[in-house]
Amino acid sequence: MLSSWRSIAVPAAVLLLWEFAAAFRFVDLEFISRPSHIMIAAISGLADGSFLYATWQTLEACVFGLTIALVVGVLTGIFLGLSPFAEFISRPSLEGLRSIPSIAFAPLTLLLFGFGLPMEGLIIAYACLWPILITTIAAVRNIEPRLLEIAAALEMSPATRVRKIVIPAMLPRVLVGLRTAAGFALVVSVTVEILINPRGLGYGLIIAQQSLRIDVMYAYLVWLAVIGLIVNALVRLADREVVV
């Protein structure tokens, strides 16, 4: 009882102080709005569907990017995991590429694809590729060598070997990489939208700020935190399902 009271004490105190300070004009409404106004903005944003549409656009890009990253990452990861030599000689190129922060590709993809889903999805895919690739390589390396020996004894073809032995054995670990990637996807998508791409939650956020709808801006921010919490919870849930 005590601990639940303590857990809401700080946010409640901040919100109350904020509300009163704003109500009596101790602070500039143009900068920090007012909790009640923010709540009204959030409710009307949810009611007219603009929040949900923006959320859909952002999540669509995340799924698009994650799918590409998963396919490319797992396929490349299996190949590099099974062939240590290939992994070794491509390491400098891959490390060099990986060192470039994902968002630095925004100007390039804009040049190649223009605004819209593909450019954003590809940047997300690039960012999410690395955790998936690295965990896949590690997962393939960690497969019980005896399993591969059995495959050789049974004279399985490489394709059958991958399908029947490698993929089932590495799956739990790859999902750990996917979990990290899912977290990246949301961050990168919102960043790209704030920076250049005129769609989704990030764009809603920056436009609200630029048109001085500060209440709407904070409402977007709160909504984004909620989305982040939901994504986190879903990922955790999926994780538990796999572990059990």
Binding site: L2, S3, R6, S7, I8, A9, V10, P11, F31, F85, F88, I89, S90, R91, P92, S93, E95, G96, L97, S99, I100, P101, S102, I103, A104, F105, A106, P107, L108, L110, L111, L112, L186, V187, V190, T191, I194, L195, G202, L205, I206, A208, Q209, I214, M217, Y218, Y220, L221, L224, A225, G228, L229, V231, N232
Partner: protein, 252 residues
């Protein structure tokens, strides 16, 4: 020994091969020059920038921005993390609020920061510090909470004060977790540095990239990407080396 040399040679050859194929694709006209620059022309741009000094000034500007934000983040995260990780009351009061902010994408605070600070260096420092804070904070809390029971018991038998416990037992014990957090937060800080430079037209490597795209100079764009790649690689290596040096006692 000979095998190792052969493997290293093969790695170098493969890397060169990547560049040769890339260059050939452009020379043969297979790929449009406007979108994809040849590696040689990108390297030319880098050499030119190194010669006239702009390479060093922009890199220094980015490094300075990155470090200012990252160091602020690490400082705040260590203070908060030590408090929340070692005190039950602080944990109960603060952790729900922290849990709410944690999943918020770091870049989402850019509009708020722009509102308060304008398109200034203060804004970029704030955004970088806010974003890079969470990995360190969370790993520090995790590290402090999971200090082994025996060590806690040693501290209470020796009647150590709280500060002494924190410095002699808790921090060394949590250092592995904290280091992992530091590494993640550094790469996050680099991303946010580039983002804020692009958003606010602040001098640095990120802004150079943006400028190159707006003026359709693809050689500059690829030169910028290469520079950022090398820069990112070097700062990560620097942190890894520091980590290895600091953690030597743990490995031995």
């Amino acid at each position: 020994m000979i095998r190792a040399t052969c493997r290293a040679l093969a790695a170098i050859l493969f890397t060169l091969l990547v560049f040769v194929v890339w260059q050939a694709a452009i020379d043969s006209g297979l790929v449009n020059r406007i979108f994809v620059a040849a590696p040689l022309s990108a390297i030319d741009v880098i050499a030119e920038r190194a010669a006239n000094g702009t390479l060093w000034t922009t890199t220094a500007a980015t490094a300075q921005r990155l470090l200012a934000g990252w160091i602020a983040a690490v400082g705040i995260a260590m203070l908060l993390g030590t408090a929340v990780g070692n005190s039950r009351a602080a944990h109960q009061y603060l952790s729900p609020t922290l849990e709410f902010f944690r999943p918020l994408p770091a870049s989402a605070v850019i509009p708020v920061a722009v509102l308060f600070f304008g398109l200034t260096t203060k804004m970029s420092t704030f955004v970088i510090a806010f974003g890079a804070l969470w990995p360190v904070l969370l790993s520090a809390i995790h590290g402090f909470v999971s200090v082994p029971r025996e060590l806690r018991e040693v501290a209470s038998t020796l009647e150590m004060g709280r500060l002494r416990y924190i410095f002699t037992i808790a921090i060394p014990s949590a250092s592995v977790d904290i280091m992992a957090g530091l590494r993640i937060s550094l790469s996050l800080a680099l991303i946010l540095t580039v983002v804020t430079e692009m958003q606010a037209s602040l001098p640095g490597l990120g802004y150079e990239l943006f400028l190159a795209q707006r003026t359709y100079r693809s050689a500059d764009l690829y030169a910028g990407l290469m520079t950022l790649g090398v820069f990112g690689f070097l700062i990560n290596q620097a942190l890894l080396l520091t980590e290895r040096r600091l953690m030597r006692w743990k490995l031995a």
